[in-house]
Subunit: 458 residues, 2 copies
């Protein structure tokens, strides 16, 4: 890293931390309407930061009524250099249960080298380190080493569609060579990590209908079809006790991770017993035989039941055979499964296994393909090198079992890969009380992103 | 029937109907606290009727706070004659949805020989016909032909415990040879019917716990145990798709109905297609092979799932693997199954089929044995004869798949059989809008009960 830039990052640490504390004091909870003014304040706070450091065309994009604004900025004067699209989100999860917080969620407190506050790591700390990394270049060189667009949203925690709509509608304005997404975590403390893959999702509702109206189980039990019993039967035929999904053709497009990827996962410091007992708190793990836990989580599709609607769920006993019941069932997808095809196979199989006397219908509630970036990509390679130089340790590659929809959107609408450099830690309590961000990772994040831009300029 | 009694019943029809309309105008809904004064009014209305006709020791038994009163009356001057305990209830179900009533639920209206009102058949019409039957004897003979105790409750529709507690505490005061319960229906119009058996019940909650806290299905799906999937698996192992319950030992005490009983059920005018399509509204019936529909409903035990608690059931998609989920599961019992033993077998089997990584617990919410009265019993035989003489048709015997807890209570605490003479019709809309009572059945009910008392005196 250039000496001037390095020195700037070092000597401004206290000021950078102070800036982050200000951003964390804004309770920009996206799901609660009463916090709409705070959402606006957080967006303006970041727009000001970007404007003051020297970014151009800084804009707060309001969107439709009830949508939260996007913050956009660009600097495109690095002729002949690549363009990076930088993504983050300024909205946060609600803070309840409040009584479990050691210090109030919107009065950031520092203890043991951590900042405790709602949004500390998810994602304000990571958004702010991106800003400070850019600021360093303007302050020391008057310019950025590459072209940069910044797009920060305020609806990530509510699955809002503003950013999707905007990206789909403005592929030219957002034209870039790659995206940098800072909204993930490191595999373990001190272990620089890039996330190279995400699972996709097909989330469905499966409704089973039997009688024309609710029935009394005394009067009709033994002859009338029961839609809850039917759903239980069908779920058993969708996934066996061995974790194998029984939908014909379900696995046919599943692509194995590369040998290198598998080998690198084996080297990760993963303790299965700790994962089971401490992280999950159970006595046994489940899943497909012949695959390691990390493979099952990152590289194998799965099917889960999330809830049953219908019937009686109150206190006490009600002897009802409900007329209808609905199960929420999702499937996580891996490359190269096609969500549309998966839903088609699922629907056809559901029809086939519907017990007699039952009418079923399925609908899809959300759907996204898996995404994976090759570790050979120059965008990933530079990210790995930048992190390695800052953390003084070899960067590891992991995948995530979850989905970050924006990564799919960038891929689909802009045709660009996303580099997921994350600086969170596994115990940072995302979405939970006492969310934190490890302060050394905040500083190293600034440096790693600064170094990444330098490397991309070479 | 004695001519004087017959004439009395005939000439007082209009007055009897008018009295019933008065009782039906009292909205004695037991589940709604704001109707507490109406509950009291209905109890007083009946106490007055009983007192005025000549019954002795008429008493309104208040019970504990929040309990609804019992109405008690007795007349015990028929030396050497048997004693009959007459049961009914004066409370009714709520009337909603109100907009579906053709005439207001508490403004009884007469259309096509039916009285439409909430409580018309369940159970005010049947309670009132019992009173009018007794009144006829006092008015024409100044006495009853047998000894009679009357016990009417106000908590039947809410499953209240007042009457159970009272019967258990006062076996001497309630000493009788048999009970007469008028709270059932006829198998078909014009077909005099006595219900001779009821199924018992073991209603349970089965809880499955997995992780220490809710998990994100993206992050953990494929390795973490899912309690909803586990419950679906277990339900499949409790009851097969063929309706067979798989709990070891479950069927061992099941007693077949007698050959006569089975033969009599075969003669009942039962149309399986109508039952399936019109009554239930489905395309196929389910249940154990080798048993007729009526056998499956009345003489075979069953197991039903009523609801699942836990997980996500709101609108939209939430990718949660819940830490715990609870299923409501009940079993209907037939003679001679023992509820305690059934629960023991169930609990042991649940433990055995609990999948790895899951901790289960079961608890029983309510429990009652099946009951059956022999059609040879003199109490039943006299009832059948009385109904036959009034309806001019042979009385049929049916069972019911449901439970009437008071019948078990009388059996257990007083050691007496219950004779269930019912005058409702299958389409009387119990618990639903436009509840009705067929007026000719009200009159025939008065006569049949009068004749029953005469026969018991012989």
């Amino acid at each position: 890293m250039s000496t001037a830039l390095f020195d700037y990052y070092q000597t401004n640490r206290e000021r950078h931390l102070e800036g982050l504390l200000q951003l964390l004091r804004i309770p920009s909870i996206s799901t609660l309407p009463e916090h709409k003014p705070d959402i606006r304040r957080a967006a303006e706070f970041l727009a000001n930061e970007l404007r003051e450091m020297g970014m151009k065309n800084v804009e707060i994009i309001a969107g439709k009524e009830n949508q939260h604004p996007l913050v956009y900025a660009e600097w495109l004067e690095a002729l002949g250099k690549p363009t990076l699209l930088i993504y983050g989100h300024y909205d946060v999860q609600p803070a309840d249960p409040l009584e479990e917080w050691v210090s109030p969620p919107f009065e950031p407190a520092i203890r043991n080298d951590n900042i405790y506050a709602r949004g500390a790591v998810d994602d304000k700390g990571q958004v702010y380190l991106l800003c400070k990394a850019l600021e360093g270049f303007f302050k020391t060189q008057g310019k950025l080493p590459i072209n940069v667009r910044v797009l920060i949203e305020g609806e990530e925690e509510v699955g809002g569609e503003h950013i999707d709509e905007y990206v789909a509608a403005h592929p030219d304005r957002l034209k870039a060579d790659a995206a940098l997404v800072c909204d993930t975590e490191m595999f373990a403390p001190e272990l620089p990590t890039i996330t190279t893959g995400l699972r996709g999702l097909v989330y469905t509702e499966l409704e089973a209908r039997a009688a024309a109206h609710d029935l009394h189980s005394g009067q009709y039990g033994g002859a009338a079809p029961n839609p809850m019993q039917a759903l239980a039967e069908m779920i058993n035929r969708l996934k066996g006790p061995d974790g194998k999904i029984l939908i014909p053709g379900f696995y046919k497009r599943v692509k194995k991770p590369t040998a290198q990827e598998l080998a690198s996962w084996k080297r990760l410091p993963f303790n299965e017993k700790n994962f089971m007992k401490k992280e999950i708190g159970t006595t046994a793990l489940v899943g497909e035989k012949g695959f390691s836990v990390l493979e099952r989580l990152w590289a194998r599709p799965t099917l889960e039941v999330h809830g049953f609607r219908g019937g009686f769920t109150g206190e006490g006993a009600k002897t009802v055979i409900p007329a209808a019941s609905t199960a929420k069932i999702s499937m996580r997808l891996v490359p190269d499964m096609n969500p549309k095809e998966v839903f088609r196979l699922y629907s056809a199989y559901v029809k086939k296994i519907t017990p007699k006397g039952i009418r079923t219908s399925v609908r899809v509630l959300s759907s996204a393909p898996a995404s994976v970036v090759s570790t050979d990509s120059r965008w990933i390679a530079a990210g790995a090198e930048a992190m390695e130089q800052v953390f003084k340790k070899k960067t590891v590659f992991m995948r995530s079992g979850g989905s970050i929809p924006i990564v799919g959107t960038f891929q689909r609408c802009l045709k660009i890969p996303s580099v997921m450099m994350g600086f969170g830690l596994p115990d940072d309590n995302l979405h939970a009380p006492n969310e934190k961000f490890h302060i050394p990772n905040f500083y190293r994040g600034i440096e790693a992103v600064g170094r990444y831009l330098e490397l991309l300029a070479q």
